[in-house]
Amino acid sequence: MIHSTSNAFKANAHDGLANPTLQSALAKMKVGFPNRRSEAIARLPEFDALRDRSRDIKNHVLENLDWYLERFEARVREAGGLVHWARTPDEARAIILGICKRLDAKIVTKGKSMISEEIGLNGFLAANGIEPVETDLGEYIIQLRNETPSHIIAPAVHLTKAAIEADFRRVHTHLDAKRDLTEPATLVAEARGILRQRYFQADVGITGANFLIAETGSSVIVTNEGNGDLTQLLPKAHVVIASLEKIVPTLEDASTILRVLGRSATGQEMSVYTTFSTGPKREADLDGPREYHVVLLDNGRSALLGTEFQDILRCIRCGACMNHCPVYAAVGGHAYGWVYPGPMGAVLTPSLIGVENAKHLPNASTFCGKCESVCPMHIPLPKMMRHYRVREWRQNLTPRGARLGLGIWAWTAKRPGIYHALTSMAMRVLGWLGRRHGSFFNLPLAGGWTATREFPAPQGQTFQAQWARRQRAMGRT
């Protein structure tokens, strides 16, 4: 498992807020993605019905996940492929290394896979003498920078074109230093040229899977670039790494969910390449891999079933939640400190690495609810974040100051008589102190607020006090 810095969220967020390149990229992202999504939805009256159906399909699968996994495995084997079961990231890495070693692999091409990030595959392969080559342009760019992805479908969304050009010049030293890279198209062409050779050199191609189809034993990848296809078609072996909950029952079910996936992610009706792979090449096929392996990863998924967090297993990794989240748009994906950022990351990260290792993530939310409103699978993200806050409270992970403050508040709120007396007094004082200016430039205990905002002064008398007086004056209680 790769190292997480989720508990350094505040410091990470601070860095993100202070990073002008990131802020400029986020300013574009937070307008672009939502606009494209809403345009796409406007053209599809059936969108909400498709969302409901998609949610129901996934719920049905989760209730019967064991049976569907066994059916999927049987179909893969009928087609001449192999299914490997991995409980932990270590097991998954060992399985993949075993396949690579047996094939004497030196170079491995990779389609984009968040699971491969989750298990820290690239570093592990490199440490074992195998070179992993990311082929998705965004992943390739961050690989050059030794960074992790900051978004689950647009890994390099935090970078500007200028930053990418600088990296290409720094790393592609075999090319003419004076070449013109002004237009983004030239960067794409350059990456295309370099990666082209790598596809042919690769011994093994590793992809993730957006779906695993139980009916046919197929894995499905969704890309716009075609990199996943060259990754899986050209080498000797195609290895799919996927977590358990990617199963859908039939090709029809996949078709339903595909209709909400693209639109929610990038506003496209269909991604350019949606590819269904089933087993190794057939005898008479003219191309294709000789081996097909599916590595099924648990890493905490089976433990989430039957809990109040089960619904996160419906996630189809579209990224709509983070595209619309005002907190993500303020701090960027790296602030979240692990593989999965944004609202889905705020729930999945504590679910997979433990809430004590991701204390801030469920807390860094205003519960505005925008994420849930755009999620194509109707995942109740704020509610699950709140469940983690309950866990933190019970496990004493809530910061002491907050606990104390809330404790005092709650104690008085449960005692109306005391509450009214105390607040009446406090508001009279505060109101008097603030009457000249109307607000406070500085307020003890509210330093976080008053550092950058005025704190409006209360009117001076509480409503309850005035109402009680009024009632008394009118002869009522």
Partner: protein, 245 residues
């Protein structure tokens, strides 16, 4: 054909059992009872569809082709309609000239393309078979065209190398109009029809490519750039002759 399950050994069986057992423990039940299994089998066989967009339903042949062409333009394909298979060579030659491309193509050994009289474009150099890896023009057919999204369904096979869909710089697809369907689900029915109507992984092709437009990426400041790794151009030649299946 490679590693067998035995090579993974007892650890794998342990892992498998523990994962499946863990799922059942979490769901607070045992293995599913036969009645439930029967329901799940029926669901798999039933191939029930979710909501199918109205715009792709109940369209006659002409409306299907029109929708297909309209959607194709929206995803940056070029489309040409020709009356008969034998008009294809002329259209292909015209297209190559219009794109300033040399009169040379690689072509998959597809039976539909076999039926075309290529002598009608004598200047056209055609290499049949697998793609060489050169970044020129690749010509294929398709099993189906999905009008809903202008998606091409191209399965792999003895006469259909999947790499031809990705290695060339320009991809030309010859699509008989009779193969255009409304929604994606109808294309799956076509595929199932060609591999004998049942859930059958063993007869599912190795690769089914659903292709919607030319390759692109939005990874640089989210501005769409064409030709990321796959072809940067996708030209569709729709053959309207109703007798061409």
């Amino acid at each position: 054909m490679g590693a067998t399950a035995a090579r993974d050994g007892p650890d794998m069986t342990n892992a498998r059992n523990q994962i499946l057992g863990g799922i059942r423990a979490s769901l607070k039940r045992d293995v599913l009872p036969p009645a439930r299994v029967a329901e799940l089998e029926a669901r798999l066989k039933g191939q029930a569809r979710g909501p199918v967009p109205a715009r792709a339903r109940d369209l006659d042949r002409a409306a299907l082709i029109d929708l297909f062409e309209k959607q194709a333009h929206l995803v940056q394909c070029s489309v040409a309609r020709v009356a008969a298979l034998d008009d294809v060579p002329g259209e292909l030659a015209r297209y190559l000239k219009s794109q300033n491309l040399p009169s040379q193509v690689e072509m998959s050994p597809d039976p539909t393309l076999d039926r075309v009289d290529w002598s009608r474009a004598p200047m056209l150099e055609i290499a049949r078979g697998k793609p060489s890896g050169a970044e020129g023009v690749g010509v294929t057919s398709a099993l189906a065209g999905v009008a809903e999204t202008a998606t091409l369904m191209i399965p792999s096979g003895a006469t259909s190398p999947s790499t031809m869909n990705f290695l060339p710089d320009t991809h030309v697809v010859v699509l008989p109009a009779s193969r255009v369907v409304g929604p994606l689900e109808d294309a799956w029915m076509k595929l199932r029809g060609t591999v004998t109507g049942e859930l059958a992984a063993a007869t599912m092709p190795r690769t089914v490519n659903l292709i919607t437009g030319p390759s692109r990426t939005g990874d640089i400041e989210q501005k769409m750039e064409m030709g990321a790794h796959g072809p940067r151009r996708l030209h569709l030649i729709v053959v309207e002759d109703a007798d061409v299946a």
